[in-house]
Symmetry: C2
Subunit: 331 residues, 2 copies
């Protein structure tokens, strides 16, 4: 294992220390308990948005803290859920007096720990609503999940619900918008090469020189099947068609197409995937009206990509377009 | 070799086709000869900025085309200079009537081809000035270079000169600002793992499980030395100290610190490097007043990072802060 780290046990803290120093205009890193908040938190009379989960998926979630998106993010150890205490502390720190929405990726540990944190925050007088993201169409239940996993679609939930909170929606309305995004977003990923968790020291799984894992999870959980390497267009079809089918994509639908890198994939390859995924969606009569291409929901240095499709309406399009000022998304 | 590509001979074209589809609001991809221009090019009465070079370093340069930065970028084949014809065509397309600045990384092929392109553009009535970027302190001459190589510091030249052009500076003034950035920027990189050029099919070089290459070039050219893997802080010192020494960094200097990923390195590791690089600069009495952390000047999926330090003054700071609207940099 060769990584630009010092002590594997301190990699999350050291990385966040650098993150806080580099971006003090946008975020504040609270060291103990460990969470990241908007530099101007709490924002009075705004619903707060809090997310989090295991580290190793950066820029998710810490890179999405800032105006128009998250008020706080809680990073656990690599690929391991944060405990309830920091989540509760972040929830209180994010509360501007109108309650807090928890955006939780559907993994058993995350769901349980955010639930306990919501109870702790409630005891401190903070009203909490929760939305669970489960956009991965690859498998129903998996290694760490009852039901579908939450993956790159989480970015869209955080962006759009964050914009709703920013324009002044109340907690129920922000939660409704978030649920509407969850209902309309689907994803699927592929791995070409595994990643290595620092404290483990060896790759999470092994693929031979000619193998890929279709339907990979963002922690390296098994997907639908292993198969032989194939040209990008063929792989893009393996990802895009199940996503479009599951979404019930229809002619005339407007969609956001997100092609996401898993951390170790050159952005040039993501555009090769985007090109064909767009063509596939258009061949079904859909219109790709918004696009995002880059490594946003990663698995350390895993090589691979995922395709996410979000069916848009006029309101979610406007909320997607609304200004955002975070480290990783800014417009 | 496992890559998300179809035909290795068509990877640049297919990737740029996707890039153009995804970002039609910002750029137009001109297919033959192949170059990328601002969607609103040419911008009347503004000095044009054109850069380019071998592909494989994305988002450099195509991701830096847009308001406040480049007017056009010319991508060659992977790690291979573009020929003079597309550079000349892009130069004409970028000319708004006040001439064009060529920003050229110091590689023999790029320097020669941009020189010929400048003559061709001149024959069409476009005045061209050229600035050559040579920020890499690792080696004096190298595999593809007489003199130092141009690496991640190129981003700073393009951003700051682009802002000078945007505010209305004339060609001589934009060239002067660009030269001032070149004079004040230094970089050095390290590789943990090599990358594979698609048409070659095998890694550019080999590092054992415990080896790193200090002073690596962005095409995998040899650096200063190979040595055993070390903790991130120690590697950060190997990069930052030569950069600061060569720059003659003095107490009281204001600097931009750019920690750049080579393509296959998780952003979390870049922040571990940033944290210690910043500390090293501050221990010399410098103030890190601007920061950028991410994979901006890459070598396909190479694992590693580079440290770039730019000495700032009031004017270059203001130009760095000026609005920019490109695919890869936006504020």
């Amino acid at each position: 294992m060769k990584k630009l780290i010092n002590d594997p046990a301190r990699v999350v803290e050291e990385s966040l220390e650098g993150f806080g120093l580099a971006h003090a205009d946008v975020v504040t890193v609270h060291p103990d308990p460990l969470y990241v908040v908007r530099a101007d938190a709490p924002v009075r009379d705004k619903v707060g948005l809090v997310s989090g989960g295991g580290s190793g998926h950066e820029p998710l979630h810490v890179g999405f803290v800032g105006r128009g998106m998250l008020d706080a993010a809680v990073p656990g150890p690599v690929f391991t859920s944060p405990t309830p205490d920091p989540v509760a502390a972040a929830t209180v720190a994010a509360n501007g007096g109108r309650g807090v929405l928890h955006v939780v990726k559907n993994y058993t540990g995350d769901v349980l720990n955010f639930e306990t944190a919501a109870e702790l925050a409630d005891a401190e007088g903070v009203e909490v609503r929760t939305v669970v993201v489960n956009d991965d169409v690859a498998v129903e239940d998996s290694l760490y999940t009852a039901g579908r996993r939450g993956v790159a679609g989480t970015l869209a939930v955080e962006k759009i619900a964050g914009a709703a909170a920013e324009r002044g929606d109340d907690l129920a309305a922000v939660a409704d918008i978030a649920e509407r995004v969850v209902a309309n977003v689907r994803s699927m990923g592929v791995a070409l090469e595994a990643c290595t968790v620092p404290h483990a020291g060896t790759p999470s799984f092994e693929l031979t020189e000619d193998e890929i894992e279709v339907g990979i999870g963002i922690h390296g959980e098994p997907g639908r099947h292993r198969r032989a390497m194939a040209p990008a267009d063929e792989i893009t079809e393996m990802l895009t068609n199940p996503v479009a089918d599951d979404l019930g994509l229809a002619a005339g639908d407007d969609v956001l197409l997100l092609v996401n890198g898993m951390g170790g994939t050159p952005v040039s390859e993501l555009y090769v995937v985007y090109r064909h995924a767009r063509r596939l969606l258009e061949s079904r009569g859909a219109r790709v009206t918004r696009s995002l291409v880059g490594s946003y929901v990663t698995s350390l240095e895993m090589q691979g990509a995922s395709v996410t499709v979000l069916r848009l309406d006029a309101e979610t399009t406007a909320l997607w377009d609304a200004p955002v000022h975070t480290v990783a998304l800014r417009w």
